[in-house]
Each structure stands twice: as C-alpha cells, then as structure tokens.
Point group: C2
Chain length 819, copies 2
C-alpha cells in the first residue's frame, strides 16, 4: 500500500485540495483590475469552474474609473485582490507543486509510523470467544498424536484457515522433518502384571483408560506409554522409590537391595526419564510411574462423584503419557535439521532416555500395588494420597498380601521409527521492515485429543490469525514488521518441530527475529493470567494486560493478576510476578535457549491457594477433551478470549511499534536481583577459595549503565527527528540483546542451552543457573577442579553480561571493562 502512494499521487491529491480552496476565494478577486491573464492561468490550473462569478474586462465602465469613490474602491479592491492572488499563489506554490530534489518521499510517514492504539482496540473487540470454542471443537474431533492421520487432519485445518482468501495470511505452507519417534505397538500392547512365583498372572494393570464419553473409546487413543522407553521384558520385586530422584534411590538403597527390582515412582520432583536413569545404577530393572492423587487431585480418587466426568480431577484410570527424554529436538540429529538425508547418530548413542523399561500407570492400579507393599514404612515426605502407609517394599509385597512373593512384570513393546512430521507455517509480510520477524507459535500435536494441551493454544492462535488475517486481506492493516506463525509438530516428543525449525533457519532467524511468543496451553484454569519470559518482555505484557478485561470481572487482566501473584520492583513498585523461561517446557525453548531470541509464554491459570494440582489434572490423558475443556476449564471460553486479546495485543505492539517495546531496564533489574542472590549465597565462601565475584558485580553495574544511557536515548526528545537508520539501530540493540548472552560453550552438558542467563538448573536457586549448578557441584564434591569450574563459569557469565552491555552501548570503547 505505501508503495502506491508515491510522489505522483501526492501531486494529484494536493492539487485537488487547492482546487476546493480556490472556489471559495475567487469570486471578487479581479473585478476591474485586469487579471484576466491570471484567470487564464488559474483556469489552466484549476479548471473552468473556477472562473464562475468573474466578469470580463469589458464590464468596467469609464465612469467607474474617474470617480473618487471608484478610486478608493479600486484601491481596496486592488489590495484585496492582490492579497487574494498572493494567497492563491502561495497555496499553489505550497500544495500544488512537488518540491524537486528535496521533496519528501512517500515512505517517509510509513517509516516513522508508530503502533496504532485504535487498531489494537479494534483487534481486541473482534476477538471472539465463540470462534475460539469452534476452533477447539474442530481441532479436537479426533486424537492427533504427532505423525498420525489425526495429526494430518489438523495440518489440513491449519493450512485451510491460513490460506483462506478472506481471513487467511499472506502465505502458509508446510515444513517437514524426518524425526525419531517412539510408539507403543498396537498389536502388542504394553502390559504390566503381577505374577506369582509360578508365573500365574495375579493382576493386570489396566491397558487403556476407562471411557466416560465416546472420546475415550476412539480406536486412535494411544495406549499410555513412556515414549523412548526401551522395549523389554523384565520382572522383579516391587519397591517404592518416591519421585525417583537421586536422593530417593540413595535413601531407599540404605535398607533395600535394589538389584533386580522394579521401582514404582510418582510423577513430580524429577524429570520423566530421570526416574529411570537414576534407578539403573542401583540395578533396578524396570520403572513404573503414576500420578499420586495428592499431587493432582487434592486427594480425591472416586470416579463415582469426585473425578471427571464430575469435575476437572483425573479419574482413577487416567494416565499421564509423556516423552521420556531430557534433550529437546530430534534425538538422532543434534544441531542439524532432520531432513531426509541428514546424518543420524546411532540410536544407541542417544543419551537422556530411560536405559530400562518404563511404563506409566493410573493411580487406580498404583493404589493396589503400593498399598500391598511390604518392608519398612517410607519417610513421611514420601507418603501420598492413598489411605495406606507407603512402604519401601520388602522388596516386594507384604506377607499378608495376596501378591506376596510375587513379581511385577513389565512387557514393553515400544518401537522407534523415523517419520515425517510437519510444521505448518504462516506469514504476514511486514510493510516497512519485512526483514524483522515477530514469531508466534504453538505446537499442534497432542497425546490424545489434546483439548487443553495444545489445542487451547492453537484455538487462540487461529482466532488471532483470523482477526489479523481479515484486516490484511481487507487492506486495512499491514504490520510494520513481518509476522511468522508456527504450528509446530511433534512437540510432545521433545519440542521437535520447533527445534528442527530453529536448527534449519538458524542464521536467518538469528539475524531477523525480534521476539517469540508461545501460547501452548492457553488456559489451565480461569483464575488469573500467568506469564513467563525474558524481563524485557514484562513491560509490553503488562501494557497489554491492562487493556484487557479479566474474564468474570470488571477489572483488567493486569489488576486481577496483581492480586494473585506479585512482587515489589525497585523501579515499578508492586507488580505482577512474571516467571523466567529457565526450562524447556514448551516450544519457546529452542527460541530462547538455542537462538537467544527474546521470548515469552502466556496462559490463564489457576489459583494456587485453592489446589495442589501439579497441572490441570487431565494433562496428557484421554480425558483432555473438548467436553472437559468446555465444562471444567473454561466454560464460555472467556479465558481463551482474554489470552487471545492479551497475546494478540503484545504481538501487534511488537510488530508495529516504532521503537520495539522491549524494556532493558527491567532486564537490568532482573540481573541485579540474580546478582544480589548470588552474592548472598556464594560470595563469602568463594572469597575463602580466592575466587572474586567483583568481575560479576562490575559486569552487572556496566550493564545497568549501558541500559540507562540507552533509555535516555529512547526517551529523549531527539528521536522523532532522527533518520530511520537511527531508529533501526536502537531496535537492533534491543532485538540483539538476548543474542549477546549466548555462549555455545557455556553449558557443555546441556543440549540446546546457550543463553547464559536463562537455562535450566538443578540447584534450585533464583540466580544465574550455571553459577548455581557449578557452586552446588563444587560444594558437594569439595574438589579443587570443581571450584575451578565455578571460577570459570563466573568469567563466562561476566563476559556475557559485558558483551550484552556492549550491544546496548553505541561505542564499544566508551564502556568501562574491568582490567
């Protein structure tokens, strides 16, 4: 659009404007004073109509000319006419003639244009809860696990919607990767049985979840399984290993010989695959995993009246499926996009997956197994929601049990396969800075019907693209920057679609991406907004949240949020507490951790004072359906609507703002918080080890100084008069800030983690993750080489923070680096 509005059109339009001005002026300009010629000129310029009301020179009489009255009149007329002609001339000159050479090109306004608040209002008003509901209905018609026929149906839905001529995007297409997946064998379902010493099967764990609605009976509902658990047939005496943490096995091993046992563990505390990885060194041969009702159901267990379909709680036969791996991305092609001919490592070289057969089961069966266990009672902290004492296991069942002397047997038939998985990509081309990308994404694949995970997010994304797409197709809007939408495949198997995408387009995405917005589970519950992200995203999220009405309230999403979870910021006072993206829980991870793209994740969520649920209880079960979502998670879809409005508002601001709405002051504040915690926790001890934290202090101080200077420039009065290149420079500094924190060698043991500040950490401290882990490790081993690693990481960290400060600094050399 802006391209059509060139100099030529400008001339025509302004000529038209002076024409209308003229017709009001002209009637008396030239009575008797002889300006026919100028009228003719005018006629040429303004057309015939402008001559109406003029008399020709013949109408002037001689009498008029010699009379005194006439004389004065003539003078007055002359003056008036002269002034009028001059005015006309000025108007013609000003509006009618394009300035040669120095004339303003038509793009000048476009490049200086800021975000349009009215457009944001319009966007938000058009976001419709019923549309979201219907999106969800169509996305959840069938199970759509990655690479299944159901998955392909959702691919087609996305393509159809994004290619819609009325409400679609500029372009939409499919990106395919050949990825390594793990499935149970339909023909040989995994079984878990209790077998007597004579191999009589005494009990069989339920194979599939109990149906309450037709959804659970769909033949495409995948049997619960632990993806990437090896196939195998193992049996042994059962033991209870709490959450399967290293400390749990170590505690259990004090009194029980774990060799040859099967460990039953509950979800939580350790990653899924860690429960088996931690077990194997003790000689454990198989692992069961279940969801304890205390951790998910607030203790409720009965499907007669307590659990779904009577409430949001997990029914007794519900099983959380999941991917049992640590690293994200396709496991056979680390750092490489998994194209058909890409080199693949040997499957035996994959790390981070269970070394022994593993299977998740429902608490209905876990109840039976655990309550029959013999041996010593487990510690209080290990007790759960069952109405029995959780014993360690003799190993095995107690003498009074009908299972006594019996083994638990796992027959796991999982198989692995390299299959093509699709991302669906959508694109709106930016008008002014098409080479800057705001990326918005969510995965598309689910374990079963996936109404909440991930289709709530996809329904929201589709509503955002419908409203924006319509404006684009109608020609009423085109963002300043390009927007990429990603509907990722195979996230459930380890963020595979998004990870492969970031590996494939590493260079272009690094160069051009302004930010990544992830909305996976859009609504966990309808209490309050929750958001995590880089600190520089906080401000724009707050701004959006203030403009959206909280569902069920008159107040804003922001004000509502503030009541649920808040903190006091030195800069802002009381504000909602945002989280940081430290883990790899969803598709933001490849963007934030691997590429260093400023990212955020957002959802409506629950009131943590009202439930102990680890997550919404139907998570990864066959009960995560449209019925469940519409009845118990977000009746009326107003939570979805609020998220769509908030996330869409953020998206438009990122795409349209003249200066990117990324706030580096908030980044400085977070680094200062981390530093303060680190000093409290580590400084004293490190001094005794001759390791100085001064360089880190200095780095954070330098970062703050760079931020203050840049903020002055951004807030300063001069920016409006600056060249688009100056504005671009500032935006580049803001865009590249997170990139500057990357160090591909900072975490050699953590695949895909390169952002020095926001990485996963096992130390559980709210501070720099690499420092916290290195310190915890050194403290526990006491070895000099481990203290060296603390010192090394301090240098890595300080250099990265100083590097980020130099990104924010105009002249590298004005920055004071410590000696």
């Amino acid at each position: 659009m802006s391209k059509l509005y060139n100099d030529h059109v400008l001339w025509e339009e302004t000529a038209g404007a002076s024409l209308s001005l003229h017709s009001g002026i002209n009637n008396a300009v030239l009575h008797k004073t002889g300006f026919i010629k100028s009228l003719q000129v005018k006629k040429k310029i303004f057309g015939e109509d402008s001559l109406s009301g003029f008399r020709s020179k013949e109408t002037f009489s001689q009498e008029d000319l010699i009379s005194g009255r006439s004389m004065i009149k003539q003078v007055i007329i002359g003056v008036v006419c002269g002034a009028a002609v001059l005015t006309i001339g000025i108007l013609i000159g000003h509006f009618g003639i394009a300035k040669s050479g120095t004339s303003a090109p038509s793009w000048l306004k476009d490049v200086a244009k800021d975000v349009d608040e009215n457009l944001i209002e319009k966007f938000m008003s058009e976001v419709d809860n019923i549309q979201i509901q219907e999106n969800l209905r169509s996305l959840t018609k069938v199970p759509h696990m990655a690479t299944t026929a159901g998955d392909e149906e959702t691919v087609q839905i996305m393509l159809k919607r994004w290619q819609d001529p009325e409400t679609g995007l500029d372009k939409a297409w499919r990106e395919e990767y050949w990825v390594y997946l793990s499935f149970p064998d339909k023909n040989n379902p995994n079984t878990v049985t209790v077998v007597s010493p004579t191999d009589t099967v005494l009990h069989t764990i339920r194979e599939k979840e109990k149906p309450y609605t037709p959804d659970q009976s769909d033949p495409e509902v995948v049997q619960p399984y632990a993806a990437y658990s090896p196939a195998g047939h193992v049996k042994g005496k059962l033991v209870y290993a709490n959450q399967g943490k290293p400390s749990d096995y170590s505690e259990l091993n004090k009194t029980v010989d774990l060799r040859g046992t099967i460990a039953i563990t509950k979800y939580g505390g350790a990653g899924r695959s860690a429960k088996a990885i931690n077990a194997a060194p003790y000689g454990v041969v198989g692992v069961l995993v279940y969801t304890d009702p205390l951790d998910m159901n607030d203790g409720l267990m009965s499907d007669a009246n307590e659990t779904y379909p009577h409430s949001w709680y997990m029914p007794p036969s519900g099983v959380e499926r999941g991917s049992y791996n640590i690293d994200f991305g396709d496991l056979l092609t680390p750092h490489l996009a998994a194209k058909e001919e890409t080199y693949r490592i040997n499957a035996t070289d994959i790390t981070g997956i269970p070394p022994i057969p593993t299977q998740p089961i429902g608490f209905e069966d876990a109840y039976r197994l655990i309550c029959e266990l013999g041996g010593e009672p487990a510690p209080d902290a290990w007790q759960g929601g069952f109405n029995c004492t959780y014993n360690f296991g003799g190993p095995g069942f107690k003498p009074t049990s009908s299972f006594t002397n019996s083994d638990v047997k796992l027959d796991i038939y999982n198989y692995e396969e390299v299959k093509p998985s699709s991302n669906v990509m959508g694109f709106i081309r930016g008008s002014v800075e098409p080479d800057r990308y705001v990326i918005y994404g969510n995965h598309r694949d689910s374990w079963v019907h996936g109404a909440i995970d991930p289709s709530s997010g996809t329904s929201v994304m589709l509503e955002i693209t419908r409203v924006l797409g319509k404006m684009v197709k109608q020609g009423t809007w085109r963002p300043r920057r390009s927007i990429i939408f990603g509907s990722w495949g195979a996230e459930e198997f380890g963020l595979i679609g998004s990870a492969e995408y970031t590996e494939q387009y590493f260079a272009a995405l690094s160069e051009r991406s302004v930010a990544y917005i992830n909305v996976d589970i859009a609504v966990f519950a309808n209490a309050t907004l929750g958001a995590s992200g880089m600190p520089s995203m906080q401000n724009v999220i707050f701004k959006a949240a203030k403009q959206v009405k909280a569902p069920g309230h008159e107040k804003s999403v922001y004000d509502n949020w503030l009541q649920y979870t808040n903190k006091t910021s030195p800069t802002h006072g009381l504000i909602p507490r945002m989280g940081y993206l430290t883990g790899a829980g969803s598709d933001y991870a490849p963007f934030s951790h691997y590429l260093g793209i400023t990212s955020m994740d957002m959802s409506y969520t629950y009131d943590k004072t009202k439930t102990n649920a680890r997550i919404y209880p139907a998570y990864h079960t066959a009960y995560d359906t449209f019925d469940y979502a519409s009845k118990y998670i977000d009746p009326g879809f107003v939570g979805h609507q609020a998220v769509a409005r908030t996330a869409g508002n953020v998206l438009i601001r990122l795409a349209d703002s003249l200066i990117l709405p990324l706030n580096c002051t908030d980044y400085a504040e977070s680094l200062e918080e981390y530093l303060s915690t680190a000093l409290n926790l580590y400084e004293q001890k490190l001094k005794t080890m001759n390791i100085s934290m001064e360089p880190l202090k200095h780095a954070v101080t330098s970062f703050r100084a760079a931020v203050s200077n840049l903020e002055k420039v951004i807030q300063g009065p001069d920016l409006a008069n600056e060249t688009p290149l100056r504005v671009r420079w500032i935006n580049d500094q803001l865009m590249l800030l997170d990139r500057a924190f990357l160090d591909p060698l900072a975490f050699p043991d953590k695949y895909g983690f390169r952002h020095v500040i926001w990485a996963s950490s096992s130390a559980g401290k709210q501070t720099f993750p690499g420092l916290a882990d290195a310190y915890a490790n050194a403290e526990s081993s006491g070895q000099a080489s481990d203290w060296d690693k603390v010192h090394y990481h301090l240098s890595v960290l300080s250099q990265a923070i100083l590097g980020a400060a130099s990104t924010l600094t105009d002249d590298m050399q004005t920055q004071t680096w410590r000696k």
Copy 2:
C-alpha cells in the same frame, strides 16, 4: 554534520527567507494600484533587473488614467502585476513554507549518498611514500617484542599519531590484556652444544646472530628461541627428521631407534610446534629447527658476498624465531578475554605446544651438525642446500666425524609469564550508519626490529590514517560507516591481541562488523600485489587495484597482478588469482574464523618464478631492519605506497558505498569450485559407502539461486526509490553472509575455527576443509565411525550453506530446502 542540518534549522532558514520577503511587502500595500510591494518583492526575489520597464505609481497621471491608452496600460500593468503577484505567491508557497508532515528532512540526501570517486582519487594522491618511509624509520628504532619497553614506545607512537589534532582520528585508546607469554632468560641464555661422552663441549651453537649493522647489537635483541618450548635439559644422539611431519618421523623410525634422540628438522612442511609434537611419541627428547638455505636463500650461504648485508638473503647465523603453538589467542583463557581476573586454565592443560625442549638455530650451525651425521642417507626429497649428503643419523654423528659418539645437548631456560599487552585502537565515527564497522588492523609487536613484519604494515596503516584523519579533522569527509583501526599486541605469540579483542567484543563485533582488512607484512617484495580473502571481497579489491599504478610500471596494480598469477573465472574470464583465508597466519584469523567477519589480507609480494624463498629471508631474524627493508625489500617505498593506496581504496569503498561492495556472485563461484573438486575427489567412493553428496550439491545450487535473486535486486532499477531500510536490509544480508557460515561445533578439535568453509586443513585439497580432513582420516583409518564423521560433516556443511543462502533470501520459506 548531517545531524546539525535537521528539520528545525530548515524551518528557521526558510522562515528567515519568508521574513525578508515579508518586510518588502509591507510598505506599499496601499499605493493606488497596490502592487508596488509586489514589485519590491520581485526585486528581492529576481534582482533589480527584473524591474526595468515598470514605473512607480507616482508616474501615473490622472490623464493617463482616463485615457484609453492609460486604460490599456493599466490593464496590462494589472495583468503583469497580477501574474507577478501570483508568481511570487507561488514562489513563497513553494520555497518559503516548509510542508508540514511531508517536507523532506535534511538527512534524506545523506542516507542515499554513495561513495565519492573524487574523494578516493584525492585520498590516493595524498598517500605519500616518504611519509611511509619515515613511519617505518620511527617504528623500527628499537626492537619491540610484545610487552617490552620497545613495544610501549610503539604504543606511544600510535597513540600520538591517532590523537593528533591535525591528522588524528576521532578517538584513540589502549585496550590491555593479561596474556601468557614465553621468553628466554636473559641471564641464562639457551644453549645448544655438542658434548663428548665425557661431557666435553665440542661445539657450541651461536647464541645470537652475527651483527652487520648496529641494529643487531642492540642489547634488546632477543636471543633466538622457540616461544612456549618448555625449559629443560636434554641430550641425545642427533637424527635428521626432515620437516618433522608425522610421515617424516614414521619414515625415520623405520631404520633408526628414535628413543632418547635429538631431532634436527628444517622449517616448512609442518607447523613450528608440530615438529616437536610429532616427535615426542617416538621417544625423541629434544628438537632443533633450522632454515635450510635451499628453502629460503635459493641455496646461497656466504655472508662474504651472497647474503645480507649484500642482498635480501638470510645470513648464515640468522635464525627464524617464532611462537611454537597451534591454537591462537591467549593460551590460558580460551574463549575468554584475558582480563586480570579472568579464569585461567592450568598451564599444564595447554595443548598444541612442544612437549619437549625445542630450539631454533642458524644454518651455519645446522650445516655443521647435519653434514657430520652418520647413518643411512636420507631420501632425495629430504636433501637440502648443504653441499653434503643429509644422512638420517646413526643415530648420532658418523665415525669419521670429530663429533663421533657425541650427544647434542639442549639447555633451555625459557620461562612463561602473564604480562599486560596492549592493543591501540582508533575510531572514526560514521555519519549515517555509525553502528556499522569497517575494521582495519595490523599487529604492532615484532620479534626484533620487525621492519617488514609487522612495521611495513603499520607504516602503511599510519599513512592511511594520516590522510583520512586530516580529511576528518578538516571536516571535508566523514565516512558513512564507522571505521575501527586496530594496532594489535602480541600477535607473534599467537594472534593474541586481536583474538582477545574479538573474544571481549564478540557480541558487538558480530552484530556490526561489515568487514576486516588486514595488512600485516605490507611488502614482501616489489613484484606484484597478492591478496587473500573471502570471495565476496574479490570485486572491491580488483576495483581498487585497477585504480592504482603499479610501482615501477605504467600499468595498474591489477594489470600487473594479472600477469603474475591468474585464473579463469566462469563469470569474469581471466582474473588475478586471489587466495582464501584458510589458515591463521595473521590477525585476520580471529575475525574470519571465530567471528565470521568477511576479511581480507593484502601485500605486495615476489615473483615466485624467480625465487624459492619460503618467505622474505630476514623473516623473524635480527636482520629485519629499516636498513634491510629500504635497501632490499622496497627501495623508495613505492610498494608500500601502492599497498596503502589499494587497501585504503578498499577501506573507503567499504565505509562509504551505499550498497556494500561485497559480491556474493563470486562467493557462489568459489563454492561451486569447491563442490566440483569435492565431487571429483570423493563422490564415487562415498557412493560405495552409502553416503550421498546430493544434499551438498543441492545446498550449493540453492546458494547460487539466492545469490542470483539478490543480485537482481541490487542491480535492479527500483533500489534508488527505496527506503533507507530496504538498502540497509540488503547490506545486512551482505554483511551477515559470512556469519551464517559459522558453526561453533563444526571443528571440535580446531580452536577458534567456526567458519565452515574457510578453515585450516591438513588434507591439502582445494575444497571444503572439514570434508577433506574427515575424508582423508576415514580413508586412512578405514573405520566405519570415521566414515560416519564424513557423513556428519557433509550434513554440517550442507546446512551451513543453506543457512547462508537463507541469509541472502528475503523470505526464508521461498527457498527450496531439500527434504
């Protein structure tokens, strides 16, 4: 400059213009006809002449008014005056009033300005050979090995010159690093002796080079040594190991038991430290290194009339000093800037340095040792310039020698020290794109006086900065982009100053650097220009070389170059042959290999048909002095002048061109050449290993397609009308092209090498280095895991080339990636 001329000033200026118009208008508004004022206005606008033919109102009589003549006259006057007033109005309107909103801002011309050819002419004409000569004289007054007092003197020279108020830069400053260096002990010089079985010293290797001018007698001339060789006292029977390559020791080991021996090797064929690293596994306990007269002196040996001071050849006592390490950058702080408190690894963990004592000696002594050796004659290929047969060594000397049964003994007293080393940095701030850096650098430290290495380059750099600095100080020029000048410290010890700089400013340099120009040894000899660099630099180098007169010829540097070394390009036909930056021979390495910054290296050099000299013969000896340079390398300094003109021309083009003069078509051509070689060498065999080269072919084809599209945009007629942001985008694509080839994991065993295309390689093939090495390795071992590495590297390579193609492509998704 452009900054002052902003909208506000524009308004005042034009307002001033209309003000003066106005004061002319006032006085006569009401004279009978009322148009005197308009005449006066005209007078102001058009000058006095334009008023001829007009009379003032006083000249009109009443009679005139009533007469018909008067009437006509009045009408005519009226018409004329009216037209005049209208014209004036138009003029006022057009020029006098700034168009609100659409007025052209003053920066518009600046942002669209291209390089000024006249300025380049002016620059070149001002580059003065005598100035360069005097620069060299002052830089070579004393030896200036890194971190010595002499080094500090050169720091002061650089600072003084770059801070000069008449000819200096905008800013100049010092950057200091605490770096790990190795020195001989002044109080305990290293000794190499031949000792009899009874420990009688039969011969002592010369400790310092023989003086021919006062330069060699300077007490600050450092004793020849192998930097980073460990101290130690070893003795053993001497053997001759040719160039110390793995194949040499393996050959020698076939007939000689190497345990406990001292190996004498000649320079060339293998890296300095490799000669000792390759020896140690065979039980060799010490290594001597010398320069064979055949490799450097075209066989000449006599200082009576053949060598310096009679010619440029190395005198018999001359010794090439050097750093005996493989990795570049400070050895204690890999990947980290060596600040005072940076974490340092243990010195014992350094790899790539000699594990056994090593010492370089002159050929005068080597002659004695080698010609006395016993044992079998070495192969023909091992023979050198001495007039004797080079034997393997018995081990040890031949029975007929007075040295028979004697050992060679090395007493090495080298010590290591962490010392502060300085870079001197200079800066010219860009006018339009200050956040884009063109970097020009050379090291400042030498081994002794370093007239050629590196002061010839520094003299050239100082002359370039003098001419450019003067234009900046006089306000006649300011580059579009910023220019950074770097005078690096401690390059001789392993590119330390430049490497630490790139580690410290990794983020900002990655984000902003357009190109790096390295001119280290500016003149090896005065025959022809030689240049190496990324292929995208070729075009701008050629352009510059065509504009500079070749020293001693009427033709251009380009035409002269074409005669010495050329190739046929599919695109350009016959062109001079440029080299690629594959090794780490000078300070370009951290920029090109670690940061992926488009780089080049340039010098005047010799006619390879006329000499076998491996390099100019005084290289790293005490004879590399002003006397030597001015007499034998470049009398009259016209070679220096030509290099200064050519490199400066390139520098200005990179800094000032609207579209960066980086040519990606030439890049495509180089990749195609590499591909074609790789297919010839490897495809057939790889097919039998089930490894397809199709993805690599596809990647190169995609790269070519992306290049063609981008070139169309660059050459297209539309660019002139585009926004500065469109131009910036193209420039960003060109700037970031080399960054896109980076993969920090591509060469896990090669420190600092991250650019997938231009890395060092031991396979000696003119093709993709990682592929060539992996293939050679697999072919030699035959192991499946090594063939896997070939396949893996093919994927790394294909992905990097496709990534680079996506950098050159506007929409990532338009690119056809292979499945």
